[in-house]
């Protein structure tokens, strides 16, 4: 029942907003004027993915500058014309360059954007794996040598987590001294 009432109220609000919107432009952020049928939420959704030159990294959705206000109104106009989110981003990228979008819209630049960090991380991963492999080989040989010399007990006892390293070092030195 509660859900039904809420839905009914929401429909009522939407009808009211629709009626208001059809009669005159809606005043939104900082006095933005949006065409009928476009809500501030619609504009916000797209504007939060577009950045302007003077915003210092702040998206057009939150920027109080007059340039960003003009861009928001332009986004609203494009939405009213039935443009999709991607088309609007492409529109701004074509006019002002790809720096206005959070991620490049062209395939080449988008690929480069992700290829650089991924390849660097993969190279680092390969280096780490190779290093571990090398260590493992050397250590296996060392264990074989130690076992052959009947010193295997040093390699079979795990070191408990909580042993103080300084204490452990002294202990090792003491044991080495006795040997």
């Amino acid at each position: 029942m509660k859900v039904f009432t809420r839905v009914l109220s929401l429909v009522g609000i939407l009808i009211f907003v629709g009626m208001m919107a059809s009669s005159q432009p809606v005043s939104a952020q900082g006095g933005d004027k949006y065409p009928p049928g476009v809500t501030a939420d619609d504009v916000y959704k797209v504007a939060s993915q577009i950045y302007c030159d003077v915003c210092q990294g702040v998206s057009v959705a939150y920027c109080p500058s007059t340039q960003c206000q003009a861009w928001r109104e332009e986004i609203a106009d494009l939405l009213a014309q039935g443009k999709t989110e991607d088309e609007i981003k492409q529109h701004f990228a074509d006019r002002y360059g790809e720096k206005v979008t959070g991620v490049p819209v062209s395939d080449a630049n988008r690929r480069l954007t992700y290829a650089i960090p991924i390849s660097l991380a993969v190279v680092a991963g390969l280096i780490v794996s190779f290093q571990v492999y090398q260590w493992r080989r050397r250590e296996t040989r060392a264990i074989q040598v130690a076992r052959a010399a009947n010193l295997n007990e040093n390699y079979d006892r795990p070191v408990p987590d909580n042993v103080d390293p300084a204490y452990l070092e002294r202990l090792m030195k003491l044991l080495e001294g006795k040997q």
């Binding site: 809420r6 005043s27 939150y62 720096k99 959070g102």
Partner: protein
């Protein structure tokens, strides 16, 4: 007089740091203890000198000595007393002096506390500490002197104002005056700070003129700004100590665990301050910047986050060197990289190299700071390569098992490294591609916003959470899948129950995965603590609260680390909740109308304009928050407008465990008010997790007794005592 004293104290500090560095170099070259002792005394002396300089500047801000240009720009008569003090870090030159003071604090602390224990490293440590401090005090004296005054012609000609440390020929000190003229504020200067003739005419419209400064940037008049910059600076400057010890170890060619032991605690202290700084910065952004979030992947936020990532990696990999004598070269690289990233972040913020709301204006610091960064980069890399070629980084042991604690730490370090690359590229892609365009290698610049970071960082952080849960359960040297599987059974089962519950609750795949992985890390950590407590309870017969407290007291570092992990788990819950489930709407309503979001109804009661004491005009709305028709809170979102600078939104927030109902006043027109309203679920977990993280670090860094003698091991088995924390 204050300005003169300030100039003398900063100049003396520069002189003393220069002398300290020179004496430290002489002690290294001549191997003479007397030079080392003198260098230590000189380095200790910089702290009181820079303390005096900071106090003098605060005094000038407090008393309103606006002839000092810096004081004029950050202080004002009507500014609250707290902000008159915190204005010390309110702009470039003051904050740079504060930065130097913190460097001197850490340097003096390290020299004082480590003098006996790491005596052999100290001459070189002092060379690097002194050199760094000398560079920053040089900037304080010659580039960004906060005691520089405004000067004008003796005949009162204000067109030839000049800001200078020393008195220019034929000029006198200029005092700023503010006056209202037909409702507009004008700034003017005079040769006196007592009512000068041009402002004293009774009939004059300027009779109401007052000797006053501009005041602090409105965005910085927030409680978060009182403490956020000092924390961040403590984090930044704190990493100079591990770097200095690392470089000293490189120079004397001693790659054993000694330098690691010296820097472990310093690194943790710097790391926790950096963490607090980042969290408080997030809180400031949440409260002041008016976009309903706390982390925007802003270039300057990232600049502080990058050393945090490498510093975190170091704090993990350092354990391998301590326990097993491995990864000597890697640890050296991580600590050098952390310090270089600190310097890069400082350069980026202070030279306007990266565009952000956090940066200072473009300044003459770009060349000296860039040069210092380059010298540090080249010098430290050369020293590392030199020792590397000599084979100094060969480990004492090798990895015994692919499945071992060591390999888990290496995987952890790789993930942190990958995160560093992702964030670094996102932050610097614009500059790098800009250079490529300039060199004719590319046609266009790539600029990356928050959308770029979301997927790669989410994946990498999920891996980190998995490792956080698994790694502590994996034994050193080598582990078996059966043993680890058995240890993981309970956390896995608990996670499975949670995941089934979330799936039934229908919260979506992404959120279920995120919460599941984060909760797994939490369950595994809690299980580790409970296992230790249970072992103590069994072997010593202690009640559980006593067993837990003794467990923590016995091995502060390990269990403090677990509390830090729990803090990160709680932060993770907050980030997932507030990111995936955030709801937002922007609507314009009239009094009596409501906006519904997140199960709440917000009703506008009225709106009005008010005048603040510090010249701000406030547009305020009174709103009532209702849930199921019942009033739960009265909120007062407002928007403040200042005579100069951007307006500031103060959100009206209703907070509880479930989340924040967060409303911003965007615009008013007649009695209609435009609000942007957010429902930020679980956002408070981010701040609570931060508190846990601090508590954990305090536990981990709390000084314990160093074992002076080798104690007789107990008769009980190693395994039982290990679990009990003995």
């Amino acid at each position: 007089m204050i300005a003169e004293l300030g100039i003398v104290s900063t100049s003396l500090a520069l002189l003393v740091t220069g002398v300290a560095t020179l004496l430290a170099i002489l002690s290294v070259v001549l191997k003479d203890e007397r030079f080392a002792s003198s260098a230590r005394n000189a380095l200790l002396m910089t702290f009181p000198l820079l303390t005096a300089a900071c106090l003098l500047l605060i005094y000038a801000q407090w008393t309103g000595d606006y002839s000092i240009d810096y004081v004029n720009s950050v202080s004002a008569n009507l500014q609250p007393d707290t902000l008159k003090i915190t204005a010390l870090w309110g702009s470039q030159s003051g904050s740079l002096l504060f930065y130097s003071w913190m460097l001197s604090l850490f340097s003096a602390g390290a020299v004082w506390l480590n003098w006996k224990r790491q005596r052999h490293l100290m001459p070189w440590v002092m060379v690097f500490l002194g050199g760094t401090l000398a560079f920053f005090t040089l900037l304080n004296v010659f580039y960004e002197n906060p005691f520089a005054r405004t000067w004008m012609d003796e005949n009162g000609n204000t067109r030839t104002l000049e800001v200078s440390v020393l008195k220019p020929a034929g000029k006198v000190v200029a005092y700023p005056w503010k006056t209202d003229f037909n409702g507009e504020t004008f700034n003017d200067f005079s040769t006196s700070d007592t009512i000068p003739p041009q402002f004293g005419g009774v009939a004059s419209a300027r009779a109401a003129a007052v000797y006053d400064g501009h005041g602090l940037n409105p965005l910085l008049r927030h409680p978060g700004m009182v403490i956020h910059p000092p924390m961040l600076y403590l984090g930044f400057t704190g990493f100079v100590i591990p770097f200095a010890f690392a470089m000293a170890a490189l120079m004397i060619g001693q790659m054993d665990s000694d330098w690691i032991r010296a820097v472990r605690r310093w690194s943790l202290i710097a790391w926790v301050f950096l963490s607090i700084g980042l969290i408080l910065g997030g809180r400031w952004a949440y409260d002041v910047l008016g976009w309903g979030g706390y982390w925007g992947w802003d270039p300057v936020e990232n600049s502080a986050f990058l050393p945090w990532l490498t510093g975190t990696a170091f704090l993990h990999s350092v354990m391998i060197q301590e326990k097993r004598g491995m990864l000597k070269g890697w640890n050296m690289v991580m600590i050098i990289a952390t310090y270089l990233l600190v310097l890069l972040g400082t350069v980026a913020t202070r030279t306007g190299l990266l565009s952000s709301v956090h940066t200072f204006a473009e300044s003459p610091l770009a060349i000296p700071m860039g040069g210092f960064l380059l010298i540090t980069l080249v010098g430290s890399t050369a020293a590392f390569l030199w020792r590397s070629r000599q084979g100094y980084f060969k480990g004492d042991h090798e990895i015994e098992g692919i499945f071992s604690r060591e390999s888990m730490f290496m995987l952890n370090n790789w993930v942190f490294f990958a995160l560093t690359i992702v964030v670094f590229w996102g932050t610097w892609a614009e500059k790098i591609t800009d250079l490529a365009v300039g060199a004719g290698l590319r046609d266009d610049v790539i600029t990356l916003g928050p959308e770029y970071y979301r997927t790669p960082t989410a994946i990498l952080f999920l891996i980190i959470y998995v490792l956080m849960g698994v790694a502590p359960l994996v034994a050193w040297r080598r582990a078996t899948a059966e043993k680890v599987g058995a240890a993981l059974r309970i956390p896995m089962a608990l996670t499975a129950i949670l995941v089934i519950g979330l799936i039934i609750g229908g919260i979506g795949v992404g959120a279920t995965l995120g919460f599941g992985v984060v909760a797994f890390a939490g369950f595994a950590t809690l299980l580790e603590i409970s296992k230790g407590a249970h072992a103590r309870h069994k072997t010593h017969g202690e009640p559980y609260p006593v067993a837990i407290s003794k467990l923590f007291a016995r091995d502060r570092r390990r269990y403090g680390g677990y509390v830090i992990h729990l803090g990160i788990v709680v932060i993770g819950i907050g980030i997932i909740g507030s990111t995936i489930f955030q709801e937002v709407t922007q609507q314009t309503i009239a009094p009596g109308d409501t906006i519904s979001l997140g199960g709440y109804d917000m009703r506008l009661d009225n709106s009005f304009l008010a005048q603040g004491e510090d010249d701000r005009t406030m547009s305020i709305a009174n709103v009532t928050l209702l849930r199921d028709g019942k009033v739960v809170d009265q909120l007062r979102p407002r928007r403040d407008f200042f005579p100069s600078g951007s307006p500031m939104s103060i959100a009206g927030v209703h907070s509880n465990v479930k989340g924040d109902f967060y409303t911003l006043l965007i615009f008013t027109e007649n009695d209609q008010v435009t609000f942007r309203v957010y429902w930020n679920p679980l956002v408070n977990f981010v701040w609570w997790g931060g508190v846990l993280l601090i508590i954990g670090t305090i536990i981990a860094t709390w000084p314990g007794r160093e074992p002076a003698i080798i104690r007789q091991p107990r008769r009980s088995s190693i395994t039982a005592t290990a679990a009990a924390g003995d």
